[in-house]
């Protein structure tokens, strides 16, 4: 019986947030169940009792105002409470912790391309270490997709030209469905795979299987040289281009007088659409666009490298 229930009503619960979401869900279920059963019971009782020809008392007019106020005010209070509860969980869902491992995800019709910080790539599968918070940095190469892992109770659209973030902490080993939840065309229902949550030893073994690949930062560094970024932004550059050391996560003054935080989106756009935001004090035609020359995965590697520049060399020269 429990097994049947588990299959039918209780999806696997494999992330810490899932517990909070389920609590809220069952809270809503009980509350709404009471309301629904109450309304239905009232309707049935009234229908039987006041059916034509029964011996009940009839009355054409009744006082309405006190009742109206009651049944408007009580739901209002309950709904506001529910909103606050749900909002709090949502807020928690939206803020990844600082120690989360960052995994890059690129969606395209119809597959998921994953890259771990070690540089290891996977397609339609993500291997995760139990109890280690994970932050997915995601973008799409074509249409809108959505990373949905029911067992983690999380879901986030993956948009072209924009980074979105999804995070979770897996708390239970096992294999869980990975679905695309935003309709993306012909292969939509095939665009998915598995999330494998592994115990430390199994995970270590999986890592050890890795044929030698360069890490994200190393790959980014290689691209930085190979694609000519270093010629202008590197330490020995003669061209007057903004230095990148320590820039990540810090404010940048723009030529329009505005200031933006140099986050993933900003660096992504600066590489692909350099004319969009010009750093104050630099000419606007210096940087060539890399639109069409760098794939989304390569841009992510470059971002990984630029982030590392910030953390290793400290202050801005």
């Amino acid at each position: 019986m429990t097994a049947l229930l588990a299959v039918w009503f209780l999806p696997e619960r494999a992330s810490d947030i899932a517990r909070e979401v389920d609590a809220l869900f069952y809270g809503l279920l009980v509350l709404c169940g009471i309301i629904a059963i109450g309304v239905c019971a009232a309707v049935i009782v009234f229908c039987l009792r006041y059916r034509q020809g029964s011996n009940a008392t009839r009355q054409a007019e009744q006082k309405t105002i006190p009742l109206e106020i009651t049944w408007s005010a009580i739901p209002l209070v309950i709904f506001i409470a529910l909103f606050i509860w749900a909002g709090a969980v949502y807020f928690h869902m939206s803020k990844p912790p600082d120690n989360a491992t960052e995994i890059h995800v690129v969606g395209k019709q119809w597959m998921w391309k994953i890259q771990h910080p070690t540089g290891r790539r996977e397609i339609n599968e993500i291997h995760l270490l139990i109890n280690q918070p994970v932050k997915l940095l995601m973008t799409s190469q074509d249409v809108i997709h959505d990373v949905f892992v029911p067992a983690f109770r999380t879901k986030q659209d993956v948009l072209p030209g924009r980074y979105t973030i999804e995070w979770f902490t897996p708390i239970k080993t096992g294999d869980y469905h990975l679905f695309c939840a935003e309709y993306c065309g012909d292969g939509h229902s095939r665009m998915g795979g598995w999330v494998h949550v592994m115990a430390p030893d199994a995970y270590a073994k999986w890592l050890a299987d890795t044929s030698t690949t360069e890490s994200v930062v190393a790959a980014g560094a290689r691209l930085f040289q190979a694609r000519g970024c270093a010629g202008c932004h590197g330490p020995n550059a003669t061209v007057h281009a903004p230095p990148l050391n320590g820039i990540f996560g810090h404010p940048v003054a723009l030529s329009t007088g505005k200031t933006v935080i140099a986050d993933e989106q900003y660096i992504h756009d600066s590489i692909l659409q350099p004319k969009k935001d010009i750093v104050a004090g630099y000419p606007d035609n210096l940087m060539p666009t890399y639109q069409g020359q760098l794939g989304e995965e390569e841009v992510m590697e470059l971002i990984g490298y630029i982030k590392a520049l910030g953390s290793t060399s400290g202050g801005v020269p």
Binding site: T256, Q273, K275, K276
Partner: protein, 214 residues
Amino acid sequence: MSAESPVAHQFEDAAQQREAATLGMWVFLATEVLFFGAMFLGYTVYRLKYPEVFRMASEHTIIVIGTINTGILLLSSFTMVLAVRAAEFKRRMALIAFLSVTALFGIAFLVLKGFEYAHEINEGLFPGSHFQFTEADPYTARMFFYLYFLMTGVHALHVTIGVIMLVIFALRAMLTLKLERLSTAVDLLGLYWHFVDIVWVFLFPLIYLVDRHS
């Protein structure tokens, strides 16, 4: 609008018919507000997202024509008011004259707009395959011109429909024996015409004036 008998069968009297027609026009204009509103919203979103490029692109519109056209439309609203009054007081010659003058203003607006379009298309600013823009990101500039041609184009379509209606009404004023039948209809056409003017009064600063330096 063009009932053969003075009061259509579903109405009790002429006053009810007139009120219904007027309210109908107001509701229609409410629909139109939302129709243009969605485009204005899209324009505003991207104006805020790409302020620099939109500014540079907007400087390629011809502000002189834009300003003259604003004046023309404002004048045409004035002559439209006079036409409505003439219909109310059943002054046939004045009605025909003011409807015609309003139509002429509308045509003048369209001709000038046409010159501006021709100039912009020659400069390669029409967002088609020949689009070229060198000062800033061409994609973004193209978006400006796309929205510009779309919004002013839909507006010009409304002006054109207004002009056609004005001409028809002027002809009807010449031919019909009983002017009172036209009075409500001219009134409604007036509402429509003022609405088209107001849309331009919003379009003009949005496209030509915001952030303009030159």
